[in-house]
Subunit: 362 residues, 2 copies
């Protein structure tokens, strides 16, 4: 058994999650380009490709480089690259594999075209659209105008549009995933048609996250979904109703190191073991605590220090010093990102695997 | 210049912070055993030892191993080790360097003694006391009784007591650091005396964090302080009044990748670049946003996705695509923990340094 704290991944559950998403894509006849941010492990990306994924999505050129180094040959960097040194790296990579990069501004696209031009190269790009999340993405009403400008640049080929909206409706987090996913798909299909009417050959309409992907995929005209979290699932997705807690493949294994009072126990994992970006009691999910403790489902993982997880107990809980617990984290993507290694558990077999694209910030 | 996002450390500021804490210890004639959780870099630990630190503190046996491998020979693992495999590692390390380990329960201490005994070894231990934080640490009123039991064990030598309280008073976060630090010191000195009255030779009374260390050090009978964050300082400590923003040695360097509207810009760092454990608007600090943007001090780093930082802007802000910004994080310890490398900046020189003890979870 690995020492605690560590992240265990149950391989049969992961494989079932991959098969289920492959089936969603197949049923709706859309391409499926899973986001590798959740696992950051080339072998898991390959398992997704074997199951029918058309390629993968990443957020960083550095992640794309790691994935390409391990044999992945179709990668979408769903992020605006605006720094020349990074665009240079994208051009180099694009000369070896099929690479698509994101853009959401004329300035960014101009830089892509200029740098690609210096290498006599044409970069394939997709324009990111803001469909309500208000982070990156051109504002919806300005998208056709910007697409025309980008279409006119010599060394980029605008082949598609993409959005990330997560579970949002009218600018607010929602639990109505069907409505959110449908609306996301419809907004994007309508926009693609408006662009085509202007003579821009938009081939790819790429949408969909783990909560909304299955609904967005049903919209006629959507060509691709890019869910990431589904590969492991997590407590947040279970609360969304996208999966059950039994479908969560990744758990933190921790040890009770202290039981200083009747009302609390402490485990050897805190904010350097579990991500804290999905806080308890945040609307609309209103999660109680930072994780679901399999051995004490009604106990609350209430507070973290960096290396301490403080569990609030009721009198019936028996957790004692030395006990091992398994905890489904609120958000698996950012939790896995804290770990240099994970353990793939397949029945009696346990394999230690490096998270090879972790910490590839630059 | 390194690619963004990355963590830059200004070496002169760091050195000044180290000197200032050395001076606090010297003035109060206490030992100073800085917590290495903040930097996780052996060379910075060595700089602290050169400046007069008596040893270092870590939270994990794995961190102690990395530090020892790089020549650090006096290490306190301020954490209860309760798993046999880890205690075995502690015994082995303790045969090579001066090692002290924490304990806070009879069960834990019994395991330490038993494992050490199998190797004909005696482990030096300190008993952790809860002085109000309610995480690890024996309850204050039960500490003497437990100390007697541990003192009776054959293969541990109980040489001291320690506590971590941070900035707490009456179980609540406080801004009255002087009162908090003094009370922390006084509680511990009184307890040490009670233990000595029972015949336990308590030599070390170890207290103090970055916010309270300077005050706790003034209490007669306190022998050691263990601050960590001071080496870099951060926005939380500046808000506490322990330092100014100019004393913050560590900043995230990021690039504006999108300026989709007048009211917001997006940088290439999110919750995988900045820690989210110190949330905005948490009592008593009530920090606005996730960091202090040096180039736009009144703009708010309002939201994160994993790789996006969303900055809320006022009309007078001019941030444009490609601009570089520098951001003092709310909590530097957990932020640094996200980075495989940091950059030490000393005037014109920039050195890339691995965070060697990062991710040493197990």
């Amino acid at each position: 058994m690995p020492e605690t704290p560590c992240l265990l991944i149950d391989v049969p559950t992961m494989n079932a999650n991959i098969s289920a998403m492959a089936e969603v894509a197949k049923r709706n006849r859309v391409a499926w380009r899973p986001h590798a941010k959740t696992h950051k492990i080339p072998d898991i990306a390959k398992a997704q490709l074997m199951a029918g994924a058309s390629g993968i999505t990443v957020a960083k050129i550095s992640e794309a480089e790691v994935m390409a180094e391990h044999g992945i040959e179709d990668i979408f960097v769903a992020y605006p690259l605006v720094v020349e040194a990074k665009i240079e790296r994208a051009v180099r990579l694009s000369q070896r594999i099929r690479l698509i990069v994101g853009t959401d501004s004329f300035e960014g696209a101009r830089r892509l075209s200029e740098t690609a031009g210096r290498h006599d190269h044409v970069l394939q790009v997709r324009l990111e659209i803001d469909t309500g999340m208000k982070r990156t993405g051109v504002e919806y009403d300005k998208a056709v105008e910007l697409a025309l400008l980008i279409h006119g640049l010599p060394n980029v080929r605008l082949s598609g549009i993409f959005t990330f909206r997560g579970a949002m409706l009218d600018g607010k987090p929602t639990l109505d995933l069907e409505k959110a996913g449908k609306e996301e798909g419809e907004l994007m299909v309508r926009l693609a048609e408006a662009m085509r009417a202007e003579g821009i050959p938009i081939a790819d309409v790429s949408v969909g996250s783990t909560p909304t992907g299955a609904y967005a995929a049903e919209v006629k005209g959507v060509t691709e979904i890019r869910p990431g979290t589904f590969v492991f699932n997590d407590r947040m997705q279970a609360k969304f109703g996208v999966c059950s807690l039994d479908d969560c493949a990744a758990v933190i294994q921790a040890t009770v190191v202290s039981r200083p009072s009747e009302r609390h126990a402490v485990i050897d994992g805190g904010s350097k073991t579990f991500a804290t970006d999905v806080q308890p009691h945040t609307s609309p999910l209103n999660l109680v605590g930072f994780g679901h403790i399999l051995e004490a489902p009604d106990a609350v993982l209430e507070r973290f220090s960096e290396e301490h997880g403080i569990i609030r107990l009721e009198p019936h809980h028996t957790l004692a010093v030395g006990d091992i617990v398994h905890i489904i984290p609120n958000h698996v993507c950012s939790t896995l990102n804290l770990h240099n290694y994970v353990y793939l558990v397949d029945g009696p077999s346990i394999e230690k695997v490096a998270v090879q694209a972790r910490g590839m910030l630059e």
